[in-house]
């Protein structure tokens, strides 16, 4: 097992609008949303009603099947509204923040056993930050994973720079690692020269290479591939620091520096905000602009009226590309369009950043070229075979071709590069859903 991982395959998409490393705004919380839709595998049970007073850290909902998993309010205040959608599906709990924040005290004592760590996470509402692989669902409190993986950096397009965002939270991160290490061995992937390389009580793996080298799934597949029957948990660095913060101070503190990025962002930079903060209070959004919670490859469509999610520390603003270009595909040169393929001439300008939009740049077709998938998938799998197995719904083949190792985000670049414009992430997602249904 090597602690030095140099990945070759992958692609860094040269998109304009990286966040300048400075805090441009601090959003003081007003109305904050707690969204059950942020957590895959959660069927929520509401614990509060409109008008209830909550503290930062008070439970507002729980998991229906596993009621010990609580989801807490990130602010103290009053429950203003319960937002429901079709069939009364719970969409969000809106909490109106108080002027002065009042925190639930979880006791600033480092957990001594796995049970204590789990207990703390379940109570504080941070259990939801533990994601189980395979399938990318919320971890189950009664299971013990073979390892817990953290990627301390992101290579996704325009992703927040973790050294800037969390460079000053080393103490919390270490406390988080120490707490999680009670449950299972912790592995952390770091970039070269990372401030997080010095953590102890965890196996540190130096990872380099283009995107998706920073994806925790890619790192797992090289460090300790997941086989049938095995479970690992992953947690983002952001939540690792939050876990450590609870351990150190007894307070739930989810405030984070959110990177405002994208070619259509009026001003890029970092905004200090809580999860559930409305997009409107983070940045201005112009006409015809798509707001994405996360990066352009895997992010979720938020809309100008949306709120950032529990896992987001980046929003990307992107122009809707519904304009139609004459003779686009036939033009020898299209200087405004980037293509990683050498069928265009983007290779002539390797350092150019592009003002990208959401145009699909073509129509959906059957698979023709397939090597492009392998070129952007630095894992020991055959992407095209896995994709076809998912399309066919063939469980046995999906297992054989590595469905346990991937989440849609790990194959997000396949979405990007495919000349046939197939929705690879959606296909993998369907495959995973089928696995969950059939293997349950």
């Amino acid at each position: 097992m090597s602690n030095n991982l140099a990945l070759k395959k992958g692609l860094d998409i040269p998109i304009k609008g990286a966040a300048v490393p400075e805090v441009i705004k601090t959003v003081s919380p007003d109305v904050v949303a707690v969204k059950p839709t942020d957590f895959k595998g959660l069927v929520p049970r509401l614990l509060v009603k409109e008008g209830d007073a909550v503290k930062a850290g008070s439970p507002v909902m729980a998991d229906k099947q596993r009621p010990e998993i609580l989801f807490t309010s990130p602010v103290s205040g009053t429950v203003q509204q319960i937002v429901r959608g079709e069939k009364r599906k719970l969409l969000a709990v809106l909490v109106k923040a108080d002027a002065v924040q009042d925190y639930v005290d979880f006791g600033s004592k480092a957990p001594a056993t796995a049970v204590e760590t789990k207990d703390l996470l379940l109570k504080s509402g941070l259990w939801g930050s533990l994601v189980q692989r395979p399938y990318g669902v919320m971890a189950h409190p009664e299971e013990t994973p073979k390892a817990i993986f953290v990627s301390s950096f992101s290579t996704a397009p325009l992703a927040a720079d973790s050294a800037f965002v969390l460079g000053d939270a080393l103490k919390d991160i270490q406390a988080g690692i120490d707490a999680l290490a009670k449950i299972a061995p912790v592995h952390i992937g770091v970039a070269k020269g990372s401030p997080f390389a010095g953590v102890s009580n965890a196996a540190v793996h130096t990872v380099s290479g283009p995107h998706p080298a920073g994806n925790v799934g890619v790192q797992i597949s090289h460090i300790a591939p997941i086989r049938k029957g095995e479970i690992v948990w992953t947690v983002s660095l952001l939540h690792l620091a939050a876990i450590g913060h609870v351990v150190n101070t007894g307070k739930l503190e989810l405030t984070r520096k959110v990177a405002v990025t994208g070619p259509s962002a009026p001003k890029t930079g970092y905004v200090t905000a809580l999860p559930g903060t409305p997009v409107k209070s983070i940045t201005e959004v112009g006409e015809g602009i798509r707001v994405i919670g996360g990066d352009v490859l895997t992010g979720e469509y938020l809309g100008a009226e949306g709120c950032i999610g529990f896992f987001d520390n980046q929003i990307t603003l992107l122009r809707e590309g519904d304009a139609r270009e004459w003779f686009g595909w036939a033009k020898p040169f299209r200087p405004k369009v980037y293509s990683s393929s050498w069928c265009y001439f983007s290779w002539l300008t390797p350092s150019k950043k592009y003002d990208m939009d959401t145009n699909l740049h073509g129509g959906p077709r059957a698979f023709v070229q397939t090597k492009c998938f392998e070129d952007v998938t630095p894992m020991d799998i055959f992407p095209i075979y896995l994709i076809k197995a998912c399309l066919a719904g063939d469980i046995e083949k999906m297992e054989k071709f590595g469905i346990y190792e991937v989440l849609p985000e790990d194959l997000a670049l396949c979405d990007y590069v495919d000349p046939s414009k197939n929705e690879i992430q959606a296909i993998i997602g369907q495959g995973i859903d089928l696995m969950i249904k059939e293997m349950a």
Binding site: W329, S339, S341, C343, G362, G363, R365, V368, P419, Q425
Partner: protein
Amino acid sequence: MAEEKKPWWYSTYDAFDTFLRVPGTVTRKGAHVRDGIDLKRVMIMVVIALVPAALFGMYNVGLQTATLYGLEWSFLQMFFYGLLRMLPLFVVSYVVGLAIEFASSQIRGEEVNEGYLVTGFLIPLIVPVDVPLWMLALAVAFSVIFVKECFGGTGMNIWNPALVARAFLFFSYPSSMSGSSVWVSKTWAGLGDVDAISAATPLAMAHDGGFDAATGVISSANQSYSFMDMFWGFIPGSTGETSVVAILLGALILVWTGVASWKIMVSSVAGGLLVGWLGQMAGATAVPCYYQLVMGGFLFGSVFMATDPVTAAQTETGKWIYGFLVGALAVIVRLWNPGYMEGMMLAILFMNTMAPLIDHCVVSVHTGRRAKKALTA
């Protein structure tokens, strides 16, 4: 969101519309930004790569006719003669093929796929220039309907449709497709009947023992071609296949743009060379192995036909095996088959059939290795 019902002519309208303008579709799920590449661009790259071979081929059609009839034609006369002879083939190929393609897209209610842009360009380049147009139309129709649309259109077919069109002609109308009199254009020259004069391809001449080991020249009663003639392409044959230089230019474009696999090209050439060499050692032929590359359709097949991403092997290891076997089989047929000397077409079609099996083996070995690693890890 309810899908809007589309009018019955939508596929055709959409094909023309998106031909002119990039569709305004925006991403709905998955990655929010997409690469500028689409299948139209990929396919047009192949057509561009074929252009050198097509242009040289047109000139060579004129050259061969002029040589056969002893005409004093200028370069331009030769080229325009070839152009005029080739145009009807292109028109028939595209009109028949695209009509079927559009109709079946409409029946399926899908967007029209660009695959036929390449197939339609390939077919005229791999048939004798004098092939009757009705035969060509029949072959195109057969290939597009039974080899492509029946399987679900571009991306779903098992065999290369252009090659099947050629195979259809070869087996249905052998007199127009083989022998020593079909490879040079004789109609329209208006200079009387010269059927008696042989205009065989060097491949056929070498097969009949026309190779002279001392000079390296392949000759018959009235023809003689040196290695360099064959390398540059001044020989009778299918329009696109004769010039190694033009094909290499196309190969360069395909490899540079990444549209076709260089692994298949290299391994096919390696397979051809190895069997050619073995054949020479075993006394099956006097022709040195590297002549196999410049004679007949070997290189054209290796570069443009075997590399079709849909019908070739899809795994990278599989591509090495697939390409090698294409080259090797083609030369085996050339050397050890008494009746039929051009093996490239059948070698590729056979390996198209075998490609999924090769991939299956490669993937099985890989998953087996992964499972073993899991046990030891």
